[in-house]
Amino acid sequence: MSPELSTTLLMGGLLVLLAFGLEIGAAMGLTAAFGLVFVVDKPLVQMAWTAWESLNSFTLLAMPLFVFMGAVFSGSGAVHLLFSALDKWLGWLPGGLASVVVAANGVFGAISGSSVAAAATFSMIAYPEMEKRRYDPELSLGAIAVGGTLSVLVPPSLILIVYGSWENVSVARLFAAAMIPGVILMLLLMLSVIVMVKLKPSLAPPSASATWGERIAAIKDMLPWLVVIVIVMGSIFGGLMTPTEASALGAIMALGIAWYYGRLSYRMVREAALSAVKVTAMIGFIIFAARLLSFVFQDLGATVKLSGLVLELGLSKYWVMLFIVILYLILGMFFDSMAMMLLTLSFVMPVITKLGYDPVWWGVTFVLLAEIGLVTPPFGLNLFTMHAVLPKFSVLYIARASLPFLAVMLLMIWILIFFPEIALWLPRRLY
């Protein structure tokens, strides 16, 4: 069998398995094991080697630690306080609480690296408040669903950790590169809330302004966040600690803050650790399976061939990028972001680098693309999460509510493609 045919057959088999609902990691692993035995003729013990080598990584350890840190922070009650404190400062904006949700997500994103966690947290904290003040559910849900995507973009970011360790790109540089685009996206989303409410005032009640006294008093609720973010990110960007070390420090500080708010208990720490274990096992399983699959495809020469084929077309780098963006928008409707990245990376990466795109820049751009996939049906994890917390709204309703904000995210991707310096300037300054 020719390598082309084998690759196509393996890919086809994988898609069938995925479509029929086999666990994503198992589907990828099974396809890889099949390829190992029948196509590239390697011993099955390669599976154990790959399992060992793909996860024996100090860099990747940052993933469970940041998940743990985010879970402890969420359990400490600090998110609730942050939300009301930001309301005092930003509530006067048109569509007040929707902007507050976006800003709070930006701050929460600097603690947590997972969009799903953000969507769940803010559905629980922000939505009831917005309902009480008679915000249109479309505005509230859209802001929560899309605001959640800031969590992954603003460092720390689980996708960037996995991407960095997979491609041997410094995670610290990736974090630095995501910083400015994260802030710009946050501002753009807030701006779009304001524009939407100006165009359709029925979306939100008239906003109320807090007094300066209230604002000053609110600062103390924002302080724990500021302290942790400045210390954790500062020690990474200042080169004092690796992202993994900083995540351990962040986890300890999160425990300290939970103690400060009187929420530290054995039960809370246990739940946070167990939830981090679950997320890690789920993602780690996919990482292992994806490594095995890419081992097979690389052995077949499939990845090099495909990238050669794309480059032979002689299209300009912008046309190829447009094609890749569209491809990911479609894939994102059906895949979760981590699986989508791991499945495609070995094919897409050679094209990206040969066209002269910076891998650091691509990491950040990819996060944005993946984030759009989190709010596009039929498979969008943020939609599912919010539906689980607020069952009265259907997945499709939440998706429709997010639609106007998606335009903003596409605009952000466009900006990044034509002004890559937005991402690359900070890491260049720092390192």
Binding site: L61, F68, A248, A273
Partner: protein
């Protein structure tokens, strides 16, 4: 398989998950100790980098079964949901059997891998020269428990199909 076996497998999966959680907390402490020792005592421990990798292996593989027990492994369900529940049940039977087969093979080769590591007494090529058999144990144990959990799910689907029930297994699971 009765409810007893199911409960036992569930408890084992939880125990492995709990052990993974302990490793998680332990590695946080060790990593912090490393940082403190580097900046305060000016004497790096050179432990965290190596043990951190082992900890991640342990957390991931010991967590597999626990994650599977609570049906948190992500999968695409919006297509199978369109089928009639019975058809969906049969499809789930096939996919679970395939998943079980894959994990069982992974468990089998990981035991061989571990046996080999024991036989050759493999060590890390760091200064510590850690015998790799200890951290590598997480692989076969994790995969074996994972396979057992999938087997329990599989038996349940068979029982449900026989009894003509529409089990939870056929519905969407959301992470």
């Amino acid at each position: 398989m009765g409810g007893k076996a199911e409960r036992l497998v569930g408890q084992l999966a939880y125990a492995a998950g709990a052990l993974a959680a302990i490793f998680l907390v332990g590695i946080i402490v060790l990593t912090m100790a490393e940082v403190v020792s580097r900046y305060v005592l000016h004497q790096p421990l050179i432990l965290a980098d190596e043990f951190g990798g082992y900890a991640l292996v342990a957390i991931t593989f010991l967590g597999l079964a626990y994650c599977a027990r609570d049906k948190n492994h992500i999968r695409i369900t919006f297509i199978v949901e369109r089928f009639r529940p019975r058809t969906a049940g049969w499809i789930r039977l096939v996919t679970l059997a395939l998943g079980f087969a894959f994990i069982a093979v992974a468990a089998w080769v990981s035991w061989q891998f571990l046996a080999d590591s024991f036989a050759r007494n493999m060590r890390s090529n760091s200064m510590l020269m850690t015998p790799l058999k200890w951290p590598q144990m997480a692989l076969p144990i994790g995969f074996t428990l994972f396979a057992l959990v999938l087997l329990v799910h599989l038996v349940k689907v068979v029982q449900d199909l026989k009894a003509g029930r529409n089990a939870d297994e056929f519905k969407a699971e959301e992470f």
